[in-house]
């Protein structure tokens, strides 16, 4: 009896040993445990918080001491539909705090996804399958809206179009004061601009994903149809569109999820006219009735889960990805003829408006003394390099380029971004390797889903959960907390690009190394990494750039708003210190564009490869 048991244990031991001696398995197990702890445990904490009484105002409202169990939050947020009285249900507490914002969020998300796909997809088609002029310029500048922080376009929109007849209605933006054109309120604030701005911000997603499919599409397909005299319209409808359908659907889902969790754009373009979305409501509730804020966070996460599930179903069945083999594919370009010049010029002007005009606007806003006056006499470089600015009684006593506070924030932001990039990038590469090797097994699928999950968790909600966690775990604060949440949040991108990079590699390459007896780490560093260098490095670039321009993820967790450049910017904007705010905004954008450019030039890594085109 004993011998049998001992033998069984020994067998189990040996099986485990063999199992774990394969690096891919070891990685999967480690990440399974790690990711479960970093994504599922926070979820549990979140759910716990939705049933707990927090302090201060909330404790008074519930009438129970802090820490007690209660279902008050649910009742108040979701089921209080009858206290609108004579004004109707849209004045009830639940409508104002939840259902109204929910409706707004869904409508914005649908519209912005549609905008992103239409705009990004169309441009992608023009760039990859036609002989459009100025391709290099358009495709180069097209990713700008994604690299720049999402509020860039929002702030630009607001300061460009605002005028004295809308909003607080007392000062004029550039369009009004220079050209005398006054846009109506629905154009400048609310549903319309939020959808447009988010759509433009995420259009590069669509461009990259759809463009990737179009780029690799075998020209023979279209040529066969042309030989049979199919009209171009039919060709588009019956061949091109069906091919990009999976990518389009995937993009739609991703943009939808991102729009739901967008925070900074609704804050600038929605809150001034009290057009609230789930994200902005959650932030304001966090400071007064945290229990209800956590419920909203849970709802947003549920959306993420549902979308992830749908996305998996849609894209999970792709079969082969190998492209690094040796076949060349022919691409025949559609000749646009007389439409070429007009379309090209139109796109160039559009890109200039979206990518370059905001930068000019911020530069202008950062040098004027009194608002609304854009004449040279009202301009000064004080906000950049001035000293002894205490007469202003705002933010800082020196221009931002001379301010210790700003440089400190800049270095802290860079350090944080670099840490997140290294951690997320490396983990992403490892996860990509392991999942690619063990593709199809349950464990690989589990790790793949878990690794992608943080992306769909709204940044603000994610921040809220980690905030709740940080109270329980004493070493979890400051830089460590920010680096941890940043790494987990950007792991999805890194693991996706890692996975795509690894899937492209045919297995023979590594096997050759194994046969000769090269140890695993040497195979990774000397063979695999160099071959797919630019794809893998893109997994590092994306977290780096995203982290530098990230706000909503960190806004609840920073020790003070002066810690990071982005939180500093938010504080300055909220306080109405327009010039300092615009200057810092410009600084952030320049830094981000610079990093992107440098890494691109030095290593060939780029955002497109990072997203998975």
């Amino acid at each position: 009896m004993e011998t049998i048991q001992r033998n069984q244990v020994k067998r189990l031991g040996r099986m485990t040993h063999t199992f774990l001696s394969k690096p891919a398995n070891l990685i999967l197990v480690v990440f399974l445990v790690l990711l479960t702890f970093l994504t599922l445990y926070p979820l549990l904490v979140l759910i716990f918080e939705t049933f707990t009484v927090h302090s201060g105002r909330e404790a008074r409202a519930v009438g129970l001491p802090r820490g007690s169990y209660t279902d008050y939050h649910f009742k108040r947020l979701l089921f209080t539909l009858d206290d609108g009285g004579a004004m109707g249900v849209t004045y009830s507490n639940s409508w104002i705090q939840f259902y109204g914002p929910l409706l707004n969020t869904l409508s914005v998300a649908f519209t912005s996804s549609a905008v992103a796909i239409l705009f990004g997809g169309t441009v992608a088609w023009f760039i990859t399958r036609s002989n459009l002029k100025y391709k290099k310029f358009i495709s180069g500048v097209f990713v700008f809206p994604y690299i720049m922080p999402s509020w860039t376009l929002a702030l630009f929109w607001q300061s460009f179009f605002k005028n004295e007849f809308i909003g607080t209605g007392t000062s004029n933006g550039i369009l009004a004061s220079v050209f005398g054109i006054f846009m109506p309120e629905w154009f400048v604030y609310g549903y319309f601009p939020i959808s447009i701005v988010l759509g433009l911000h995420y259009a590069p997603f669509a461009y990259i994903l759809i463009g990737g499919i179009l780029r690799n599409m075998d020209a023979n397909l279209e040529e066969a149809a042309t030989v049979l005299k199919t009209s171009r319209m039919r060709l588009l409808r019956r061949i091109t569109l069906p091919i990009i359908k999976p990518a389009a659907l995937s993009t739609f889902l991703l943009v939808f999820a991102s729009s739901i969790s967008a925070y900074s754009v609704p804050v600038f373009l929605g809150s001034p006219v009290r057009y609230y979305m789930l994200s902005t409501k959650m932030k304001s509730l966090m400071d007064t009735y945290p229990g209800q804020a956590y419920i909203i966070a849970a709802v947003m996460i549920m959306f993420g889960i549902v979308i992830l599930g749908i996305n998996q179903k849609v894209t999970g069945s792709r079969k082969s990805y190998t492209t690094v083999t040796g076949k060349s594919s022919q691409v025949s370009l559609v000749d646009l003829r007389k439409w070429n010049r007009p379309v090209a010029v139109f796109l160039v002007i559009l890109m200039l408006l979206i990518a370059v005009l905001p930068l000019i606007t911020f530069a202008a806003e950062s040098v004027i003394i009194k608002a609304g006056n854009y004449s040279l006499s009202n301009m000064t470089l004080d906000f950049w390099i001035g000293t002894n600015l205490t007469y202003l009684d705002q933010g800082d006593s020196t221009g931002i380029l001379l301010s210790g506070k700003v440089w400190k924030a800049l270095f802290y932001s860079l350090a944080l971004a670099a840490t997140c990039a290294v951690v997320a990038g490396t983990c992403g590469m490892l996860v990509g390797y392991a999942v690619a090797k063990k593709r199809g097994t349950r464990m690989a699928n589990a790790v793949n889903s878990l690794a992608f999950f943080p992306y769909l968790m709204p940044s603000l909600a994610f921040g809220a959960i980690y905030l709740a966690m940080s109270v329980r775990v004493s070493w979890l604060n400051g830089f460590v907390l920010l680096a941890l949440i940043g790494s987990v949040k950007y792991l999805p991108f890194a693991s996706r690009s890692g996975l795509n990079a690894m899937l492209q590699l045919s297995g023979e390459i590594e096997e050759a190394g194994q046969i000769v007896g090269i140890p695993w780490w040497k195979r990774m560093t000397r063979i695999i990494f160099p071959i797919q260098k630019s794809s893998l490095l893109s997994g590092y670039l994306l977290p780096l750039v995203s982290c530098m321009r990230e706000l909503s993820l960190f806004v609840l967790l920073v020790p003070t708003s002066n810690t990071l450049l982005t939180t500093m910017l938010m504080q300055y904007s909220e306080k109405g210190w327009a010039q300092f705010g615009s200057a810092i905004n410009l600084l952030i954008i320049i830094v981000v564009l610079l990093i992107n450019y440098l890494v691109n030039k030095l290593t060939g890594a780029s955002i497109d490869k990072g997203i998975g085109g």
């Binding site: 707990t52 302090s55 201060g56 105002r57 404790a59 008074r60 409202a61 001491p65 820490g67 007690s68 169990y69 206290d83 609108g84 009285g85 004579a86 004004m87 004045y91 507490n93 104002i96 705090q97 109204g100 004295e164 909003g167 607080t168 209605g169 007392t170 000062s171 809150s271 001034p272 009290r274 304001s284 966090m286 400071d287 007064t288 945290p290 003394i369 009194k370 608002a371 609304g372 205490t390 202003l392 009684d393 705002q394 933010g395 006593s397 905030l467 940080s470 109270v471 329980r472 604060n477 400051g478 020790p559 003070t560 708003s561 002066n562 504080q571 909220e574 306080k575 109405g576 210190w577």
Partner: protein, 381 residues
């Protein structure tokens, strides 16, 4: 089962709260007996960066001066009131390094933090005699007033004499006010209007303006009625500084705002276009009926999570005296609780302002907050 968990949780929370308390409260009490020199010595002997959270942007200037004077490293942070409350609790609960001293508004929320020991009161001996007993615990550093200020350009200047004028049809969209949902003191002001005294005075003012007694209809009292009609005419801003700037523009003719008087110090505000309503030279007071605005105290307290408590106390002492008050005292609209410090030339003293401004009554606000804030939400939506 969940009762057990809840009990355990409360126990752990209380225990952790108590354990961090014991040292600091007794310490602060002891420190009341120190002389100024002894306090300075102890403060300098402490280590680490001195961290301050303040509701006001000028705290950083005051801190810079303080640090230069005593050769201490300090870091000042300007945060919103609700943020300070949330942050403080989380930091103290999780024993993370946070503020040593806070300058904070919203007396009603403050109650909770003091009751549960998160903030500790310190009354500097040097000013004890000059501060009103009512303002000593918790210690008031200064009073801030938000008054009705209008743009004096153009034909239709809203030089109101009675607050009910703001509820009329013609004022729709011309009244600027910071969204009470993002500024607790604004919400507190609205809550105060529903108490017996102010509701009665509002009813009187209604009769004085419209010539007939007030008909409440569905409203609980005159306070609720004024709030509903006032908010319906308001345009909400997100920051008093921006409001001040915008309303001072020539394009803002005909508009009136209720915002912080001291924002007039900002260089981007065109003060020549603004008038504070409604000055009566004979009485040397502002006489809009029944109130010209409201005021609230800004408190200064030591955090129970302080790693530099003596520095915190020294800083409070500094702030209550002439040098420390200077960043605020040099502009209009800041009134020290230390009666030895005179108000700025051309401004009125706090004792005169107190008569025509609505003040905070923490006890009433605590009791009535839920009802009024739910009511307000419907009109701010």
């Amino acid at each position: 089962m969940r009762k057990l968990i809840a009990l355990m949780l409360t126990l752990i929370l209380t225990l952790s709260a108590i354990s961090t308390l014991a040292t600091d409260k007794a310490l602060v009490e002891e420190a009341q007996k120190l002389t100024h020199e002894e306090l300075v010595e102890k403060a300098k002997a402490e280590e680490g960066t001195f961290i301050v959270y303040g509701n006001t942007s000028r705290i950083t200037t005051a801190l810079e001066q303080f640090c230069a004077l005593y050769d201490i490293t300090g870091e000042g942070n300007n945060l919103k009131d609700a943020e300070i409350y949330t942050k403080l609790e989380i930091e103290i609960d999780s024993n993370a390094k946070g503020a040593d001293m806070v300058m904070i508004q919203d007396g009603a929320s403050l109650e909770f933090l003091i009751e549960n020991g998160y903030l500790i009161n310190y009354l500097p001996p040097s000013v004890a005699a000059n501060v009103d007993a009512a303002d000593q615990n918790p210690l008031v550093h200064q009073f801030i007033n938000k008054v009705f200020i209008y743009n004096n350009q153009g034909d239709d200047v809203p030089a109101i004499k009675n607050v009910w004028e703001l509820t009329e049809e013609k004022m729709k969209g011309r009244v600027l006010f910071k969204n009470p949902e993002s500024e607790q003191v604004n919400m507190n002001f609205l809550v105060m209007l529903t108490n017996e005294e102010w509701a009665a005075r509002l009813a009187e003012a209604y009769e004085a303006h419209f010539g007939k007694p007030i008909e409440l209809g569905e409203y609980k009292n005159a306070g609720y009625m004024w709030i509903a009609q006032f908010l319906s005419n308001c345009v909400f801003g997100s920051s008093d500084t921006t409001l001040a700037e915008e309303i001072s523009q020539p394009t803002a003719a005909g508009k009136i705002g209720l915002f912080v008087l001291s924002k007039l110090r900002s260089s981007s505000v065109l003060t020549e276009n603004l008038t504070v309503g409604e000055y009566d030279a004979q009485k040397n007071a502002y006489t809009i009926q029944p109130f010209s605005g409201f005021m609230y105290p800004m408190y200064a307290l030591v955090s129970s999570g302080a790693t530099r408590p003596y520095t915190a106390m020294l800083f409070i002492d500094y702030l209550m005296n002439v040098d420390g008050f200077q960043p605020w005292g040099k502009s209009v609209g800041a009134y020290s609780a230390n009666s030895a410090l005179v108000p700025l030339e051309g401004d009125l003293g706090i004792d005169i302002w107190k008569n025509t401004l609505v003040s905070e009554d923490p006890a009433y606000i605590l009791a009535a907050y839920e009802d009024v804030s739910t009511f307000v939400t419907k009109y701010v939506k």
